[in-house]
């Protein structure tokens, strides 16, 4: 049996199981009420896509800079990186969002919720990225750096031609996992009243009292974003494949 076929079969079996469970719940389905609000779903989903894309780029950049800090020989720079990573990874995103929006953004006069949301989400995800990148670079053996120096490469060439191409392959699965998390974590931006996918689904539920009809499309909407991310990661892994 091919791998793809196996995936489809298992997904179908799982869907059947869920369908059976749903059929046993005594629940009065009312899709028409939710259908009225389809534009709100689409608008929320598009906002989530925009949030995620912006945070995806920003968190990768922040993670790259922070991982450089973590490896700095300057103790002060290293300390900045380390405190950032530990503080962010050790506290809930919810708290970071509330403090970031109602305290810090307020203090500096930043009023655009979307910008603040993307910033906080990127800083949150960037801390995880930083450790992933640091681990990937540290896993490249010293002999590779020696070889690069021995043939006369500059440090920048060594990074670009020797270290990064190998590190990319090592960090791809972890980065993909982190990006999938980021897409789902963007749902928390609802607490600072960004009208993204999750908040809009909650609002539809509040108006229609159709809880499952509001939230099932939500799950599907996130899967539409996260499954291609996973597929892209696997495809890239294949492209970068070589035995060390």
């Amino acid at each position: 049996m091919s791998r793809r076929l196996a995936h489809i079969l298992v997904a179908a079996a799982f869907a059947a199981l869920v369908a059976v469970a749903f059929s046993r719940v005594n629940y009065a389905w009312n899709w028409s009420a939710v259908w009225e609000y389809r534009d709100k779903f689409i608008q929320g989903w598009l906002t989530t896509v925009a949030l995620s894309l912006a945070a995806l780029v920003a968190s990768t950049a922040i993670g790259a800079v922070a991982s450089v800090c973590l490896q700095s020989r300057n103790v002060l720079v290293e300390a900045v990186g380390r405190v950032y990573v530990e503080l962010i990874r050790g506290t809930p995103l919810l708290v970071q969002l509330l403090i970031g929006f109602y305290v810090i953004a307020n203090a500096v006069g930043l009023e655009n919720r979307f910008v603040v949301g993307v910033l906080v989400l990127s800083l949150f995800s960037g801390a995880y990225m930083a450790e992933i990148f640091r681990g990937g670079l540290a896993a490249i053996p010293q002999t590779q750096r020696d070889s690069a120096r021995a043939i006369g490469l500059t440090p920048w060439q060594s990074l670009r031609l020797v270290i990064l191409p190998q590190a990319v392959r090592l960090v791809l699965p972890a980065v993909a996992g982190q990006l999938v998390s980021l897409v789902k974590d963007s749902s928390l931006l609802s607490v600072i009243a960004i009208s993204e996918f999750t908040l809009n689904a909650q609002e539809v539920n509040a108006v229609t009292y159709s809880t499952l009809e509001s939230f099932l499309p939500l799950a599907a909407g996130y899967l539409v974003l996260t499954l291609p991310l996973s597929a892209l990661s696997r495809w890239l892994e294949g492209r970068f494949r070589y035995e060390a």
Partner: protein, 242 residues
């Protein structure tokens, strides 16, 4: 080449690896460094290859002193080749791309010019059939021969080899040593660290015995292997042969 080393000292933390080591060779083509593990051979070779900077002392090839700043050392490294014990090659590149990388990115050749440059040596050393393979698909001996070729194709003044066969089985060792022997025959200058005493005797013009961070004995190959009066050297050779 004529190598002059004066009072060379290298420390790692509290450990002194090279202890005011001095050596002056004749005008020779191949110098072999032998001696016990931990004696300082590899440390010395890394300094000669411009990879590490000693804490004190000086090194000069043919009267030209090795620089101490990284920028100048990088320019120096571009004029020499270095082969390590193992894992030299870049695993994400094919054997061919491993050869092309320094030519294109360090020595400024076009890809076509670089391809023209590597074709003849690839054929000479029977490595053409393996050119498109990644290092993981090559045997240990093939990997090391590609690594030697990568050092060779930039047309260096000399090649440094740090125990190039100690990670290989006897058959692969033979094919790599044969290649190094050919380099010697082609006129390439060599500085070689090895435990292959039979090969050292064949290829070396001079042999330096490095132990305890110093040169314990030094001379022509025949003298060193057969008539060296230094007891620590005699004892070492006797143990190796036995």
């Amino acid at each position: 080449m004529k190598l002059e080393i004066a009072e060379l000292t290298q420390r790692f933390g509290a450990t002194t690896v090279l202890d005011r080591l001095s050596l002056s060779t004749g005008d020779i083509q191949a110098l072999v460094l032998v001696g016990p593990s931990g004696g300082g051979k590899s440390t010395l070779l890394r300094i000669l290859a411009g990879l590490d900077v000693p804490v004190a002392g000086s090194v000069a090839f043919d009267g030209a002193a090795l620089p101490r700043d990284e920028e100048a050392l990088r320019r120096y490294r571009r004029t020499v080749g270095t082969v390590f014990q193992a894992y030299n090659l870049f695993p994400h590149l094919s054997a061919l791309d491993n050869l092309l990388l320094p030519l294109v990115h360090v020595h400024g050749l076009s890809r076509q010019a670089a391809l023209d440059r590597v074709r003849e040596p690839l054929e000479r050393f029977q490595l053409m059939p393996h050119a498109s393979k990644r290092p993981a698909e090559l045997s240990g001996g093939q990997k090391q021969r590609i690594a030697i070729l990568r050092a060779l194709v930039v047309q260096p003044q000399r090649i440094f080899l740090d125990e190039p066969t100690s990670a290989l089985d006897p058959e692969m060792t033979a094919e790599v040593l044969e290649m190094i022997g050919e380099l010697k025959a082609l006129g390439t200058q060599l500085v070689l660290v090895t435990h292959e005493m039979g090969f050292a005797r064949r290829v070396a013009d001079e042999v330096a015995f490095i132990g305890e961070g110093r040169v314990l004995a030094h001379g022509a190959a025949g003298f060193m292997f057969d008539h060296c009066p230094e007891p620590r050297v005699r004892g070492f050779f006797d143990r190796i042969v036995a």
